[in-house]
Symmetry: C2
Subunit: 175 residues, 2 copies
Amino acid sequence: MVLARLILGLLSLSPMTGYELKKHFDSSINHFWNADKAQIYRTLAQLVDKGYATVRTVAQSNYPDRQEHHITEAGREVLAQWLAGGAAQSPERDPFMGQVFFAAELEREDIERLLLQRRKNTQYVLDDYLSQREGIDMRAAADRRSFLMAATLDHAIRQQAAELEWLDAVLEHLP
Amino acid sequence: MVLARLILGLLSLSPMTGYELKKHFDSSINHFWNADKAQIYRTLAQLVDKGYATVRTVAQSNYPDRQEHHITEAGREVLAQWLAGGAAQSPERDPFMGQVFFAAELEREDIERLLLQRRKNTQYVLDDYLSQREGIDMRAAADRRSFLMAATLDHAIRQQAAELEWLDAVLEHLP
DNA sequence: CACAGTTAGTTGATTTTGCACCCAACTGGC
DNA sequence: GCCAGTTGGGTGCAAAATCAACTAACTGTG
């Protein structure tokens, strides 16, 4: 599934431990995917099982051994096939929209509270993305890889901004 | 989880069979949630189990019996608690963004193909939403319920529109 | 009159996800 | 000196989601 491809993608950039992968999911990749620790380690094991990655145990003086995972040629092929195999469609699943859809049960103030709370969350997330983008801005246009990576962050920023606009419109016109 | 609440929400509007619920997920609700048939029937069984819904078997002359599910008072309470319990946050999971993130592996033309394919999909989905909206436009502002329901569709439309703009920007500036 | 589609619901197997734990050793701050 | 946090890895379990098939009778179209 998707998680396996994403992990292969990250491994294609650089060999990594499960721990480091988790950090990427929490920071550099958090605007379009997240994953549980346990899930990452299990998927890594599967990748090794299928021959898409290999493990090299690297001892460290102070810290636990690193289980460094390296992508194999077979792994790169699977990754390339995923990329070339057509654009994936998005899940289109938003629990909050479900809350709005059925929010008429609530009092007017409670609806406003709901929307304002979402607004706060969205603003918070947007600010996070904006601060992430500051670090890459200028150098991004240079090579294709950096450009595309930055572009996904821009996508998230646009989506959050659109969400804010929508929230404000709803708050303004709520009967 | 979320699916159970959404089903309760739909049942709160009107008693329904699993089959009818599935139709709602495929049409009126498809812009923010979808669900497998099997999942719907199993969740319905759980709701009945927990006392949040009751079943009434309605015989029909030609077609199979309808297992009409009615929301109970307990069910309405659970629904209300979900709505009042704070804004849910969105999953932030988009496989396509993963493809873009790692697309530098591909040739330039293949990247463009990927983006254009997505553009076509997005346009298609947007057109679907726009045609859905035509049927509700004017009467929407009237009561709160219709307004909120229409608002979630507007949200989806804004998101798709923002996606289109982003795709065009990426296609234009791709190095 | 055959065949596709609709109405209605169900089962089984498998995958994916999430949550809560657990281990061990180190590092930094009060 | 203690306690929280980091580095690194892992297990077990239950819930949720997906895929595929199967039943059965009707309706509409060519």
